[in-house]
Symmetry: none
Subunit: 193 residues, 4 copies
């Protein structure tokens, strides 16, 4: 039964994920989940005690299967600039994607439950990304592809700018051109093109 149980939990998580993408975090009610899962009210509570726990679980599941964008790429003999370009293109897609994206719900979640909490995984994620990016830039510099910049600072700057683009896209709206221009600016800081 433990297996069946696990299956059901997975089903709930997948469904919840979809709903969080559609409605953000705060607007989602247990009823929304129950309806979408075709599960009983009480049944849902057997697995999750509320939307907070549910969203936490959705985030954790994400993390578990998070794929490091660079891990594979960098080890090969691909050019660092190409890897970076690929990464930025991926980010662009995410930034411009209006729905099908957990970023809005995630922002709402952390607004509500504090930047203080220990389990704030966002920070770790961000630092991992900065670290990986930094390494990539380092490699690029050694390859002679990139200018001799402070890799760590450059990586941070890129990440903050990307976050800025993302939040701007979710609030004031951004055009594709705005994103392209900014990404171009970011690349220009590293390499002549």
């Amino acid at each position: 039964m433990g297996e069946k149980s696990e299956q059901k939990k997975q089903l709930i998580l997948e469904t919840a994920r979809r709903i969080f993408m559609e409605k953000g975090y705060k607007d989602v009610t247990m009823k929304d989940i129950v309806d979408a899962c075709q599960i009983s009210r009480g049944g849902l509570y057997l697995y999750f005690s509320g939307t907070q726990e549910l969203f936490r679980a959705v985030l954790d599941a994400d993390e578990a299967e998070a794929d490091d964008v660079f891990s594979g790429a960098v080890s090969e003999d691909a050019m660092a600039a190409d890897v970076l370009l690929l990464f930025l293109k991926e980010q662009k897609k995410e930034i411009l994607r209006r729905k099908d994206d957990l970023s809005l719900a995630t922002y709402e979640y952390y607004f509500a439950h504090g930047a203080s909490q220990e389990e704030n995984s966002l920070r770790g994620k961000f630092e991992d990304a900065v670290g990986a990016l930094s390494q990539l830039i380092e490699i690029g510099i050694q390859n002679g592809e990139f200018y001799e910049v402070d890799a760590q600072a450059a990586a941070s700057n890129i990440m903050f700018a990307l976050e800025g683009l993302r939040i701007c896209a979710r609030t004031m709206g951004v055009t594709e051109k705005m994103v392209d221009d900014e990404l171009y600016t970011l690349m220009s800081g590293l390499v002549a093109d």
Copy 2:
């Protein structure tokens, strides 16, 4: 009588502003406002039809008294670098300020009511800031203070990075050092220090 009425409206706006700073946007109820204002339920509705209208009014009031950071500074013979530094310091303060700040509520408001709406003043604000910053950088370049960069692109980059810092501060949390480092990186792109 219109005067007294106006006073009350102001009182409500100020109180609401405080509450929005404390609780963000979505968690604020009309009852919260009512209690804080020591006003009757019906009384509040005489002035505002709901939290959305209230927050809109708070934002509008902000805008009305918004002071252009550069306007005064630039026209004087202060160095562009000094003006920029001042601006960044101001931003740093805002970014690190945990409460007493409408940014969280504002994000929530635009999450809820769409980046699409015509009355989205965020976009205008952002572009105004980019414009002013761009001008400032231009002046700095002409003064020989700054490198010969693309002023527009540099300004955009700074603004996106600042937004990134702000949202990171509100979600994953940032240390003062992180902010300082990033601001230093931003300055470094313009001037050797």
Copy 3:
């Protein structure tokens, strides 16, 4: 001032009448009246203590200027059948008129405030109409225009049938043909045509 006062009262009554025709009785609020009259809240209460009193006044005003349909007609040497026909045509118009009519509001008013009340003027109105109709039929009989029926009974029957048509029009809806047919039936009871 008494004159001015009277004018204002008239204005209120006329406006209220229009609103009662539009919305019926129960849905009308003092606010509706206030808004439509462009008068102050308190001002309205100086004249009328609530919608009940207001509607009562509207009804009373109606009564005061109620014109007896037959009074003029009968005294002339018009044929009784023609007068009756005219009356029925007038009734048909009223029955089919969807709006611009107080009947719905009147029904609602008496539903709410009882068929019992002393000031129930409906009964008097009805009996007056039966009386007049009865007289008319009597004359018609004496003229040899109508069959020799019980005038009183015939008059009552016509009035009940008209009320039936009216309420059916307001609830289940009636077609013009249904009304025409019924009116024809009513006439047939009195005269061959």
Copy 4:
């Protein structure tokens, strides 16, 4: 469990029916029902989303168990006149019954929700009654009990007059004598007595 649920729904319907009879349609609030049913606020909404839906359900339940007054009677060899008399007596009782009657609420309901709606079952009911009555009269004519009148027209006339009596009873009030007289008039149109 569906059974218990159904029982509760029935209980609510019966209670609601009683309340609608007492207070009409418009004055009834969900709270009235809740209090009368000794149920929780939220519990009621599990079954009905508002008073409109509730009243609709009450009407539908009525219709489901509606017994055709004539169906049985006519097929037997009872005299048509007797059947008609029985029907009119039944109607008289209903008309004079002050409370314990849904007619007032029904009128209010249709005032509020339009004579236009597709689901207006009143029209169908009325036409069914006219049809049955018409048949009955036809039979009476063939039996030689009734005058040779236009059965359809006579039936319509009776129904309109009954509706007229009903609404008059609910608004201006009618005496038993008034009803008797009118019913006598209606019979007189068909048969000498």
